[in-house]
């Protein structure tokens, strides 16, 4: 069986290597991928959107639909994990006390105190990454994952119950919803003002922005905040379900 798989994989590899003859050389500035649409994005991104980070400009403005559905994909994955794993039925063994999420406490003093001290700095840096995504590498996804990772750090070093006061199951699903809603809401708001869906130029009438390009920049900031909220909530929800097998009684 393994020999068959190996032969099939080798045949596929040889076919792909034969096809690699047509690919452009590495680092070629005149390759077909870099000559049709991408010079327009590089030269016009700052004029039209006032955002120097071209990747954020393309992600949030020129290809804003893809990013909206990607946020919906993350939200759907969180809901799917909750559907598959979450169970509230509790089987009580005779005589064994039930362990609750906030009662199992380990005694690693160094790990717990360092995690507790570092936690607000991680969140501050994650907020910086979200807000400064227009001028430096970063943006909504990266900041959202870092925010979620800070909660996961607390959950690993203490126990799962420590994060439930801030990010209970209901809060995380609600925040995931609000993230996608903020993104789609900005789009619908543009419709109501009179422009196309997710056309930030329509927001120039409402915001105190002076010109059309600045309204694009502010609209992009709004949707990055929505994306960060959704990603943070779903990362925490997936971790909580995976590490406790859906029963939320004890974590790792």
């Amino acid at each position: 069986m393994k020999i068959l798989c190996f032969i099939a994989v080798v045949i596929t590899g040889i076919l792909l290597v034969i096809a690699a003859d047509d690919f452009p050389d590495w680092g070629d500035p005149q390759s077909p991928a870099s000559t049709h649409l991408s010079p327009h994005y590089i030269t016009e991104a700052v004029n039209e959107t006032k955002v120097p980070n071209i990747v954020t400009a393309v992600l949030a403005d020129y290809r804003g639909f893809d990013t909206m559905f990607e946020t919906a994909v993350i939200f759907t994955a969180g809901i799917a994990v909750i559907f598959v794993l979450r169970s509230t039925a509790r089987k009580r063994k005779a005589g064994a006390p039930e362990e609750r999420a906030s009662e199992v406490v380990r005694q690693d003093i160094i790990v717990q105190n360092v995690a507790r001290i570092v936690f607000p700095f991680i969140q501050l840096f994650a907020l910086y990454v979200v807000m400064h995504g227009h001028h430096s590498p970063g943006g909504g996804f990266q900041g959202g994952v870092m925010l979620g990772a800070s909660f996961i750090l607390l959950a690993i070093s203490y126990n799962l119950g420590k994060i439930f006061s801030r990010m209970s199951e209901r809060t995380s699903i609600l925040q995931g919803n609000i993230g996608v809603l903020v993104y789609a809401g900005i789009g619908v708001f543009s419709l109501l003002v009179g422009a196309n869906f997710l056309d930030y130029g329509g927001l120039a009438a409402i915001l105190p922005a002076s010109e059309d390009a600045m309204a694009h920049s502010h609209g992009m900031l709004g949707i990055e905040i929505g994306v960060a909220l959704a990603v943070m909530a779903i990362m925490v929800a997936i971790y909580a379900n995976l590490s406790s097998r859906g029963k939320y009684d004890k974590g790792l």
């Binding site: 069986m1 393994k2 798989c5 190996f6 099939a8 994989v9 080798v10 596929t12 590899g13 792909l16 290597v17 690699a20 003859d21 690919f23 452009p24 050389d25 590495w26 680092g27 070629d28 500035p29 390759s31 991928a33 870099s34 649409l37 991408s38 010079p39 994005y41 590089i42 030269t43 700052v46 004029n47 006032k50 120097p52 980070n53 071209i54 990747v55 393309v58 992600l59 290809r63 990013t67 990607e70 994909v73 993350i74 759907t76 994955a77 969180g78 799917a80 994990v81 598959v84 794993l85 001028h135 430096s136 590498p137 996804f141 990603v231 779903i234 997936i238 379900n241 995976l242 097998r245």
Partner: protein
């Protein structure tokens, strides 16, 4: 010979993809299959990002000097051609940003898929007691 020297990087990407594919179809353990899926996905992302690289080009964030020049150029209607040509942004100085955008979406989708796949594996382990594919198939029949 030109095939090997000029395009050796594509050979390595194809080797990585085939390692991931082999793990997905031939390993019996479910978590090993999920690891193979992850390797395959990152190899595809590596392939796309490498087609965006350009020699002697910098990261796709417009530098400060160019940004002011480009804004000034757009605002003024009358500009003599030499000044405009000097201050325009040259696309060959920056790497191609389009594959980066697509691959950002791909990375995020891959972590979402990983979460759901691990949840399914956990549920299977809870139901059948094992993570090996042949033992699960024996218990089903």
């Amino acid at each position: 010979m030109d095939l090997i020297v000029a395009k050796y990087n594509y050979w390595i990407y194809i080797l990585l993809m085939m390692i991931g594919l082999y793990a997905m179809i031939s390993k019996r353990n479910l978590v090993k299959k999920i690891i193979g899926m992850n390797i395959f996905q990152t190899a595809i992302i590596l392939f796309y990002v490498s087609t965006a690289a350009k020699r002697d080009a910098t990261i796709p964030i417009i530098e400060h000097g160019h940004e002011h020049e480009a804004a000034g150029h757009a605002a003024q209607a009358t500009e003599n051609a030499a000044h405009a040509a000097m201050s325009a942004i040259n696309p060959a100085d920056y790497v191609n940003p389009l594959p980066h955008v697509l691959m950002l979406t791909a990375i995020v989708v891959s972590v979402a898929t990983l979460g759901v796949a691990l949840a399914l594996a956990l549920r299977l382990h809870g139901r059948y007691g094992t993570l090996e594919e042949d033992e699960i198939l024996e218990q089903i029949r």
